[in-house]
Amino acid sequence: MSYDCIVCVKQVPDTSNITGEAMKADGTVNRAALPAIFNPEDLHALEAALAIREAHGGTVTVLTMGPPAACEVLRDCLYRGADRAILITDRRAAASDTLATSYILSQAVRKIGRYDFVFCGRQAIDGDTAQVGPQLAEKLHLPQVTYFEKLVDLSGKTARIRRNVGNGWEVLETRLPVLVTVLDTANEPRPAAARRVMRYKRARAVVELAGEVNAALPDATAAEKEAEVARRQEALQAKGLMIEQWNLDDIQADLQWCGMAGSPTKVHRVQSIVLTKEGFTPVEPTEEGIRKMIHELIVDHTIG
């Protein structure tokens, strides 16, 4: 039998490469200066889904929540082999914590309807919480298998999955559908396929078309712009190049569980890391300097 997979992906600021330019004068992070990247573990989640489609047939649908720019990661998914891409974008979703995010994603997954697997990366590098996967599983009333490393067996409506639990591994048998979070050690994500890049580089969500029309026809009336967006949309639709775009109404989300209202955790205070230069003992990088330091450490019983 074939399997339908949904993969949740996220565009994140590249927190691993924060350079001096990304720090403002007051010591806070200038997020705008950070490149936006595909959350690394989500690529492994996508690969796990594509591998299932390859072995058994089926579909791979990718889903992201974010601003219009998040279409970039959806296109990347299409380049790598995804069949269908969906953007959930809505200002009312801003300031969602992990609980509100998982609620919104669960409503989108429900709207997609048919699925056997929901894959997520274990965690996103901007928050490192690893909470959305298990919370999404609970919202969908699915069993969860975190820290996926390998699909051991898949037949009928049952999967056996090997998971890495840090100090060892175990194999779980779960019924489908199931939510799985994937580790970066699980697989090697395939690169974008050149042929698919040629085809899907023109894929757009409506919100992107609107931005492009605005830039191309700055003097047009609102009605003219609207007509132009509709025209472009129709042309892309005919070629299967539209990225679907849903807002909170489209997925019938109850607003009390979304955004700030739906988020029990609030940020009370944020402190940027101020580097304290309290001073250290400078040691000359010479034999003499180092010998002196080692001597001090021996004298105070730190070593030896």
């Binding site: 639990v165 944020v270 080692i294």
Partner: protein
């Protein structure tokens, strides 16, 4: 949803595997005791498993007043759904105000599942927990005695304090090793309360087929001396220098995320926010720039030596000895100096 219950206890999920308590659970009990004393409430611990009742006494010795013990063969090995059922039912029954979990693979799998079911807040990977007041900037309403959940965020470049004043319990996972484990007092007394939980078919839908545990090969937490290498070491081959210095000092080998991502060494050597938190007697940071996520994992070391060619590297901000220079030259000089003294 659980209503705000200011008389509620401070709870710890007592994580055990193979009839042995995870250290982090006892670390959390120590902090739970402090928080509970501040709030004037009791400390509770949920201990679930099969034949683990004996562990209750260790929990009590470390500061627990009430152990909620669930003895069930189906809980012998951790599985998400039945453990989530245990926690959700007991939280609904006793309404603790705070619930803490170790930020272990188990805690990070379990806690979000529970938070979602209870529609409660959860903060991941806290490095500190305090009690404090919060004034809503808009309504001016004062929320007293909240749990301040402190964690690095944004790749460790900021420290955020998270609160949750309306959807309780206040829950957090806490990094292993950041809270000091206190000495237990075997004379301390507490109550063991036996609980029985009903499971439905869904709770038991996932079966454990095979299970394999290995002793942790790298025990950074127990090491007195750690020599750690970062991206500045440059290559896997060059990382031998780090091994050599660790050998000369009789220490363990650590690494920053950059070194692990660069493939110089395996992830179980990683120190920092996503690795192990350590506090050895001596920490030698070689070619580590000192991103906050790394420093969060080692800055409490008694002595820190930083070696980096960049005099502005943040690692020098926490160092006791700073060597601005080329580690390829400095490390061999250190090894030589140690051997000559030895």
């Amino acid at each position: 949803m659980i209503e705000v219950n200011r008389k509620g206890e401070v709870w710890v999920f007592a994580e055990q595997e193979d009839e042995s308590l995870n250290d982090v659970s006892l670390e959390l009990v120590g902090r739970a005791r402090q928080l509970a004393d501040r709030l004037g409430v009791k400390v509770g611990a949920v201990l679930a498993g099969w034949n683990v009742r004996e562990l209750s006494y260790r929990l009590i010795a470390h500061g627990v007043d009430h152990v909620y013990h669930v003895h069930d063969t189906r809980l012998e090995h951790y599985r998400t759904l039945p453990y989530a059922r245990v926690m959700c039912q007991l939280i609904e029954k006793y309404k603790p105000q705070i619930v803490m979990y170790g930020a272990t693979p188990i805690g990070r799998d379990l806690a979000p599942r529970i938070a979602s079911e209870l529609k409660a807040g959860l903060t991941a990977d806290c490095t500190d927990l305090e009690i404090g007041d919060y004034t809503d900037p808009k309504s001016k309403q004062v929320h007293k005695d909240l749990l301040m959940q402190i964690r690095p965020a944004f790749g460790g470049n900021i420290i955020a304090t998270i609160i949750n004043y309306d959807r309780w319990p206040q829950m957090a996972t806490v990094r292993e090793g950041v809270m000091r484990m206190r000495e237990g007092d075997p004379k301390r007394t507490g109550k063991i309360i036996e609980e029985t939980i009903e499971f439905n078919d869904f709770d038991l839908a996932v079966k454990l087929i095979e299970r394999h545990r290995e002793a942790r090969k790298v025990n950074l937490k127990a090491a007195r001396i750690i020599v750690a290498g970062g991206g500045g070491v440059g290559s896997k081959e060059n990382f031998q220098l780090i091994h050599d210095l660790a050998g000369a000092l009789g220490g363990a080998v650590g690494a920053s995320r950059a070194a692990v991502d660069g493939g110089f060494i395996s992830k179980d050597h990683q120190v920092g926010q996503t690795g192990t938190t350590v506090r050895p007697a001596l920490y030698v940071a070689c070619g580590i720039s000192g991103a906050v996520q790394h420093r969060a994992g080692m800055e409490e070391s008694a002595k820190i030596i930083a070696i980096n060619w960049d005099k502005d590297a943040p690692i020098f901000g926490v160092a006791h000895y700073g060597i601005v220079g080329d580690l390829n030259k400095v490390i061999p000089m250190m090894i030589k100096a140690i051997k000559e003294r030895g």
